[in-house]
Point group: C2
Chain length 198, copies 2
């Protein structure tokens, strides 16, 4: 799992695994691009390797991406889960982990891509926004969509209150999608993601 911050989605996945002995994905490694990310503590508390690949130590995006991919390979990672990871990886990551990198985004893509999705949705005046889980492809916030759930915007919403309701959905939806991806239930056909019945 790749993180940049407190790692609340990381925690949701750790909790899903702790609460369900049959949860099919085994987290093996958490990597942060920042030394102080709170999610690193969550990882070590759960007995998972935690590593830092410091963005500011990398001469460019290519070497940053290569260092992360090497680390993922060394830990035999099969599914790369972005959980509040605020760096954009180079195309090498998609080449080395094709249809095996998932991301979660706090809006209903293709609406409001980018790092300020909740603010932008509120500023636009939408009445419905939501959560998107998708495979990562070579473009930002663009890959095949695994799941989406709507969130109703309330008249009194601020960025904070809306973001909190969006995160509640994220913490339920992401573990479900990670489990499905880990068990090979998700088939990508063009831009469609088909959930195979079990």
């Amino acid at each position: 799992m790749l993180i940049s911050g407190s790692g609340s989605n990381l925690q949701a996945i750790l909790d899903a695994r702790a609460n369900d002995p049959d949860f099919p994905a085994q987290p093996v490694l958490v990597v942060s691009d920042r030394p102080g990310a709170g999610g690193l503590l969550r990882a070590t508390a759960a007995g998972i390797s935690a590593e830092v690949v410091d963005w500011s130590d990398s001469p460019d995006r290519e070497s940053f991406t290569a260092a992360i991919c090497d680390l993922l390979d060394a830990h035999k990672v099969e599914l790369v889960v972005l959980a509040g990871f605020m760096r954009i990886l180079s195309q090498e990551a998609v080449r080395r982990f094709p249809n095996a990198i998932v991301n979660i985004h706090p809006a209903l893509l293709p609406a409001f891509p980018g790092a300020r999705a909740v603010e932008e949705a509120l500023a636009y005046g939408v009445k419905t926004t939501g959560v998107t889980v998708h495979f990562v492809d070579e473009h930002v916030d663009n890959g095949p969509i695994i799941a989406q759930e709507p969130v109703t915007v309330m008249a009194a919403d601020t960025v904070e209150t809306l973001h909190r309701r969006i995160q509640t959905i994220e913490h339920r939806l992401y573990p479900k999608c990670v489990a499905a991806a880990a068990t090979g239930r998700l088939r990508v056909q063009g831009r469609s993601v088909i959930w195979d019945e079990r």
Copy 2:
């Protein structure tokens, strides 16, 4: 009401009025840009004036828009409801009916604007799309959003099945929004539409 086709949203509003003696909007005029539009028959069947302003008779968008606005003024129309109207009016319409033109769009704007919203949403592979009702401003599918409702995309959906489920939502949502606009319950503040409590 302005239409181009069969006018199923027009019918939904006529039905809402027929079923509720307190429905606060009185349809007075239906205008089509095409002589053969089925919605014209629905209008006359309901005792409402039906007129054609033929797009192909107009030398340009400006004169087409002016002809329609003159007709709306002659009938003392206070709220202009676009119901499957496939022509883009010139800016004169927004100047003459500021925050008094409403439109319904079969997607969650700002995602999938334009005339092929359902096809494009399906081709993109979204799992959630929906319906948007909005005030018309000087840009296409852009004005302040009055209401949105999500619609879940099913694995087996075709454009037809998805469009049918979207229309079911439209036929419930549009009369509600038209009633709110007609009673002055909707306040536009910047890009936000606030629903005043009654």
